[in-house]
């Protein structure tokens, strides 16, 4: 018995040692930084790349269609794409796979995901692929096609037999200039000066309003442009409802407490977070002031949030007429129109989120970018780069996605307006197509977007300011306590 026990102990110990060594010795799980292989991109070798995203439904079909076009352009590249369901799914799958040394080549990402992945050094910086980058004179044999994969010759005429030409590997100056600058610059705001992402498709918040209600009472109210006007409008709407005996109306609904807080900071130019120095700056008096204001509004019955109304989105209450103005993502634009016909349909209008200074409009920028992971096979990195470049500079792909759900192209409006498909789509705004209306309004505001700094822990700041607003609005905590608790949670794990 004793001997058996000793044997067991020895085995356990040996197991632990071996295990630790094996894990420590798993240096192979870390991939090498990209080095341009001799001969550049090898078109004679088949290369398969994996792309993880969270696209649902129709978006996957559109993606698949353009992947086919991409594979025609580079016949030796094969793309496998897989939806991980939701954002958390993408992040969890990838962090696990990184630990197994088995990560995909390309992923849909938010900025804080990139910061997290980069703790393991897994993300490939793309500076060398940009205009003026190290690979500026490298070319890639490319089958000439248009954006949809139809074969063309050097002049752009449709042909039946594929024509191959050597095209630049890098983004050209011309191509880079077409991206919306805010979105493009977002890729290099990680504090180390390197560029890691390109924007894929973007959305913002807009105010959806009950146009019928405003038209019926145009003598008393108009769509508010500033928060001061908003306060007056809310009071007036409540008065109207009382006069007309309409019960259960809250004038303003806001989907996301997180976005509300962050947008207020941006509009008031009040500190929120910073990627350098002290990271968490949101605990200050200006911010407490606006939180107090919204608590007051809530108590007066001016304002509710999705969570306060026991829901994920305010759009259901909006379509039922209980909310007159609903601020939410353009990505969910269609939900502000009731398609079932179960409620009386009113006309929906779209306006920018109210501001403090209309001459310095600040709108939140949201939506996925893409990053490329390091790989021990440089051909995979090259193929991934070509993939990212193809999709993020393709105005037709961007238009189709916008058309599908109200997301916004990442390319400048001036360029997009040269694309007939885009012009046709935007024209539908006149027929009250809610997606076209959202995209049109969003693109008109293309110079007004702001992004928050990205660093390891930035998502926790976001989550915590949302929770602090909830705790303060629901009265669970005093405003001061809510702020200090949120700050403690952030700094405890991520330092100051």
């Amino acid at each position: 018995m004793k001997r058996l026990g000793a044997l067991l102990m020895a085995g356990l110990l040996a197991g632990t040692m071996c295990g630790s060594l094996a894990l420590a010795g798993c240096g192979s799980r870390k991939k090498a930084d990209f080095v341009m292989p001799e001969g550049g991109f090898d078109t004679s070798k088949q290369v398969t790349i994996r792309f993880y995203h969270q696209m649902g439904g129709q978006l996957q079909n559109i993606l698949a269609e353009y992947i086919t076009a991409f594979e025609k352009r580079y016949p030796n590249i094969h793309v496998e794409h897989r939806s991980q369901g939701d954002w958390n799914g993408v992040r969890k799958q990838i962090t696990t796979e990184i630990q197994g040394g088995n990560q995909p080549n390309i992923a849909y990402c938010y900025a804080d995901h990139v910061a997290l992945y980069n703790r393991s050094g897994a993300v490939q910086a793309i500076d060398d692929f940009l205009p003026g980058g190290a690979f500026d004179d490298v070319t890639v044999p490319t089958v000439l096609t248009d954006s949809f994969g139809t074969y063309v010759d050097a002049e752009g005429n449709t042909v039946t037999e594929p024509v191959t030409a050597d095209l630049p590997l890098n983004l050209t100056e011309d191509e880079a200039a077409k991206y919306n600058k805010t979105y493009y610059d977002e890729g290099s705001m990680y504090g180390d000066g390197k560029m890691y992402t390109l924007p894929w498709i973007k959305s913002t918040e807009m105010m959806f309003y009950n146009a019928d209600f405003f038209n019926q009472h145009s003598d008393r109210i108009s769509v508010p442009k500033t928060w001061d006007e908003m306060e007056e409008t809310c009071a007036e709407i409540l008065e109207i409802c009382e006069e007309e005996n309409i019960e259960g109306v809250v004038p303003l609904g806001y989907d996301s407490e997180e976005n509300l807080f962050i947008s207020q900071c941006a509009q008031l130019d009040s500190p929120y977070t910073s990627e350098t120095g002290t990271k968490f700056l949101f605990d200050n008096d200006t911010n407490k002031q606006f939180v107090n204001k919204f608590i007051e509004w809530k108590e007066k019955g001016y304002f509710t949030t999705a969570a306060l109304a026991s829901s994920d989105y305010t759009s259901t209450l909006f379509t039922e007429g209980s909310i007159i103005m609903s601020i939410g993502s353009t990505g969910g634009a269609t939900y502000n129109v009731d398609a079932s016909g179960s409620v009386e349909q009113f006309e929906v209008g779209i306006a920018p989120v109210p501001q403090y200074d209309v001459n310095n409009t600040k709108l939140i920028s949201q939506g996925p970018s893409v990053c490329i992971f390091k790989s021990n096979d440089p051909q995979e990195v090259l193929a991934s780069w070509l993939f990212v470049k193809f999709f993020t500079t393709n105005p037709y792909y961007q238009t189709e996605v916008a058309q599908n759900n109200g997301y916004m192209p990442v390319l400048k409006r001036e360029f997009m307006e040269t694309i007939p498909a885009y012009v046709d789509f935007i024209a539908e705004a006149e027929d009250k197509d809610i997606r076209a209306m959202a995209v049109r309004e969003g693109m008109l505001n293309q110079d007004n977007y702001f992004v928050s700094p990205a660093f390891y822990g930035s998502s926790v700041a976001r989550e915590q300011v949302g929770l602090l607003m909830q705790a303060a609005l629901s009265g669970d905590k005093t405003v001061d306590k809510a702020f200090s608790d949120a700050l403690t949670t952030c700094t405890k794990r991520y330092g100051k």
Binding site: A64, Q84, Q93, G332, T334, S340, S342
Partner: protein
Amino acid sequence: MEAENMEKIEETSPQPETPRGMAEKDINKTARAQLVGKIFVQIGLYLFLTVMAVIVLFPFYWMLISSVKSVAEYNALNPTLWPKQFVWSNYADVFSAEATGIDLGRMFLNTVIVGVVSTILSLIVTVLSAFALARLEFRGKNIVFGAMLATMMIPGELFTVTNYITVVNWLDWGNTFAALIVPFLVSVFYIYLLRQNFLQIPNELYLAAKVDGTSDLKYLWKVMIPLSAPTLISITILKMMGAWNSYIWPKLVVGDSHQLITVGLRELASMFSVGNNPNFPVQMAAVVLVTVPLLIVFICFRKYIMRGVSRSGTKG
């Protein structure tokens, strides 16, 4: 130890004494009173069971009606108990998405393969271990059993990453059925359950078999397994369901060629969402489609449960 406990029970239930010398009249009276009592008890039992059954069934019912509601009706503020209109196209939608390259047929086959193989192997492993722990005397038995129980106490989610590294990096089982089967062959829950069941079988039977010169395996096969049929069938059902419902692990370790049905159906269901807003009725339809085959298997197995039960009744 088991034998001692058996004796204890014999003590607590003394030998019956037949009521002799009672007047005929009294017997009739008590019989009638007993009959009335019995009827009341039976009514009470049925009432209790019916109420519980309704409570238990309700969510099941909800799942079914939700799968044929329209999105608007599902999302309506006041949920309806009966669909205003039946949207059967939710089911058609689940399958129409197949055009996008998710091969449901293959995933179904994969799931059956994984389910059957892992159930058979798991039953063998479980029966052998439970037998050793319930019937054999050996040094360190309590330690082994205790250690096994202890492994149930750590949340298994923590093992995911380590096991992922083991399976993909060390064993190189990425994208194989082995990766889906082997890590889950042993369930301490089932070993423990079966051990408890084996312990109920009087040890005298085993000792008698030993005297007769019956081998352990023969005894196991001829006596213990038939007597534990209900439990073994329960384990079989649970194990099959495990394969059927598993989602996180297969999604992690295998690609499309070896993928299991729940992952596929969830992927299909997610095709019907706009932005981040899922279409729940179609998802429910997918859930129902996952559940129905299980239900059929389950109802088929029920016969065997009953047979196993009646056998243990007559032989015990």
